[in-house]
């Protein structure tokens, strides 16, 4: 069995059609790319107990967003380790192990959701699934570069395009599965018809059959964010099912089967194989950035070029991933409150779908374009345009809060979509950039190690977004409360201002609920929650721009010698 997976077993015979590798690579990347659809799980995971809205003991958005982060960290770490192993055992073995990890990770994660054990979700989806991501990600890249030395950018663009498109496919499975297994909790009636009390921890309680039970209240502003549309009013906590665990089990099985089929489609070219009629570019000043020499995996770590590329990848991804991790939430918070008739649950879901579509298209288009533009010039475009777009988003957010016009929604939509094409393009172009700088011999291993940049970005991006958002939310709530009379506050929440911290922690007090009792003319602060984050991302992109601009060929002393 192991022999069937070995590198020697999959050397292609004379006349093998190299284009057959593309669907296999695409298949694996489409499955693991579903990690980008993580934000589709967030609304369900934070309502695991409350189902219609978050209950006091439900997981917070901050705690579940980090599952995605852990998966990305383990993607980078496993890719760094597996890169060298891949060169030894070949892509089929690595692809098979990836299928077991990714499919198994979903199953373990599902058990964690079912039993309310957050650590199991982290272990399953984050750690084991993350290893599956890393192994699956690197498995076809060096193989494709060797099959397509004439079009390195396009070849890696095809495979990595699948990673970007995975979330788009996943959307059509995740939402129907969640809705299929969803069961609404018991409905008690409207807020006016139910006698409610608030305990000292800020929870809302109602008397049911002589017992006080925790309830959640769905307000008028919350209806648009319900997973399955329902009535506003009071629901009993712990009596429904959000359906996400069952969706995890089903997805794990589907991905496992597809990835196994794809892994068995891999072939590697024979030693010294070249496409018919292809002549390598000459060693002249015009092609100075394309090396004819190879640099060993370990030696590459001693070159400044590796760290310049590390910064280029890490900061490009940090900027993109930070927005990606909470993309749907961001759309809801910024535009959901100002344009509620347009930005509802369906709109936000389509937004995630479009992120995935543009991320996918960007991977293929930018990577293919880099074959003609040159890698360094391609990254120049990413960073200069990215800085302009990130800086413009706070202005858009401010304008929409003052003048809720669709124009600002369109601009925001377009700006973020361009950002995501460049985010995807950054990933897809980097293997070809590495092959140009370090040669093709060890590009798989070097690429694996460079993916530690992605793992680091997986921490930086969400960290920046969630930390800065938390500060902004706290400031906004304090500001709003200062404008509301204590009597109105007491009537709305059943507790005084002295309990504000507990009420916020229990999610009883939120910006949207405070806006319901804020004086007329109060500007909703939700739209400016991400301003500082956007400016920070622009600064980070500037650092990456400098790293890319100073890129030079590797010093000859690092080249491998016979």
């Amino acid at each position: 069995m192991l022999d069937l997976l070995s590198k020697q077993h999959i050397v292609a015979k004379e006349g093998f059609n190299r284009w057959l590798i593309a669907p296999a690579a695409l298949g694996i990347h489409l499955c693991i790319g579903s990690v980008y659809a993580w934000s589709l799980f967030n609304p369900s995971l934070i309502k695991r107990l409350g189902v219609v809205t978050s209950a006091a003991d439900d997981w917070t958005l901050k705690s579940v967003v980090w599952v995605f982060t852990v998966a990305i960290v383990f993607l980078g770490l496993s890719a760094a380790v597996a890169g060298k192993w891949l060169e030894k055992v070949g892509p089929r073995m690595v692809g098979t192990v990836a299928a077991f990890c990714w499919g198994g990770g979903f199953v373990i994660g599902g058990i964690g959701i079912l039993t309310g054990q957050l650590w199991l979700l982290y272990l399953g989806y984050g750690v084991i699934g993350g290893c599956g991501l890393g192994l699956g990600y690197v498995s076809p890249v060096s193989t494709l570069i060797r099959w397509f030395p004439d079009r390195r950018g396009m070849a890696t663009g095809i495979a990595i395009m699948g990673f970007g498109g995975g979330a788009m496919i996943a959307k059509f499975m995740i939402e129907p599965f969640i809705k299929l297994f969803y069961k609404a909790p018991d409905y008690l009636g409207t807020v006016e018809s139910v006698a409610l009390t608030t305990d000292e921890s800020g929870r809302r309680l109602a008397e049911i059959a002589g017992n006080l039970q925790e309830v959640v209240i769905v307000g008028a502003n919350d209806i648009a964010n319900m997973l399955v549309p329902g009535d506003a009013g009071v629901y009993v906590v712990g009596t429904g099912t959000v359906g996400v665990a069952q969706a995890f089990f089903t997805l794990g099985a589907v991905y496992f089967v597809i990835m196994m089929c794809a892994a068995f489609g891999y072939r590697v070219p024979a030693e010294g194989w070249k496409p018919k009629g292809w002549v390598p570019p000459p060693e002249d000043s015009q092609h100075a950035m394309i090396s004819h020499h190879s640099v060993h995996i370990d030696e590459a770590l001693k070159t400044p070029q590796f760290y310049q590329l590390w910064i280029v990848l890490c900061f490009n991804v940090t900027a993109g991933i930070g927005v990606l991790a909470v993309a749907k939430t961001m759309m809801n918070e910024i535009f959901g409150s100002t344009l509620p008739n347009i930005v509802d649950f369906g709109f936000a879901s389509t937004y995630v779908l479009m992120i995935s579509a543009f991320n996918m298209v960007g991977r293929f288009v930018w990577a293919s374009a880099s074959d003609y533009l040159g890698r360094r010039n391609t990254y120049w475009v990413f960073f200069t345009l990215g800085i302009i777009l990130y800086c413009s988003i706070p202005y858009t957010a401010h304008q929409v809060s003052v003048n809720p016009s669709v124009v600002w929604l369109v601009y925001f939509y377009a700006a973020t979509m361009i950002i995501f094409t460049m985010y995807g393009g950054g990933f897809a172009t980097i293997p070809a950039y590495l092959a140009d700088i370090f040669g093709t011999k060890y590009v798989g291993g070097i690429h694996g190690r460079l993916l530690t940049a992605w793992a680091s970005a997986g921490v930086f991006g969400p960290l920046a977004i969630t930390s800065l958002r938390e500060i902004s939310v706290k400031n906004a709530i304090t500001d709003l409360v200062s404008k509301i009379s204590p009597a109105d506050f007491q009537a709305k929440f059943g507790a005084g201002l002295d309990q504000l911290d507990q009420l916020v922690a229990a999610k009883t007090v939120t910006i949207s609920k405070l806006m319901e009792i804020a004086p007329i003319g109060t500007v909703d602060p939700t739209s400016s929650l991400y301003n500082t984050t956007m400016y920070l991302m622009a600064v980070i992109l500037f650092v990456a721009l400098i790293a890319n601009a100073t890129m030079r060929p590797v010093n000859a002393r690092h080249h491998m010698k016979d």
Binding site: D298, L301, C314, A464, L468, I471, L536
Partner: protein, 87 residues
């Protein structure tokens, strides 16, 4: 591990410092490989990683202390000669 940031400048500095840290560990790992250090070459960077993780739990000041100490220790402990990797 819990970090509290009060503004975006602090987050930016944190990102830059963490990047320097990760790159330092990668460089040491590559340096060890070209100095024939065998298992010792893998273990020493690992100590650096563990020290970094422990320092992170204590806060930023500890991170800033551990990084230069780890680097100096590396330059003292590593073999004096290196070689290019050949095919």
């Amino acid at each position: 591990m819990s970090f509290t940031f009060s503004n975006s400048t602090e987050v930016f500095i944190f990102i830059i410092l963490c990047s320097v840290y990760v790159c330092s560990i990668l460089w040491i790992y590559g340096d060890a490989a070209t100095r024939d250090m065998g298992a010792k070459g893998a273990i020493l960077p690992l100590i650096f990683v563990i020290a970094a993780a422990l320092a992170l739990t204590k806060g930023m000041t500890w991170v800033l202390l551990v990084w230069p100490i780890g680097y100096i220790a590396w330059f003292i402990l590593r073999p004096k000669t290196s070689h290019a990797i050949t095919e």
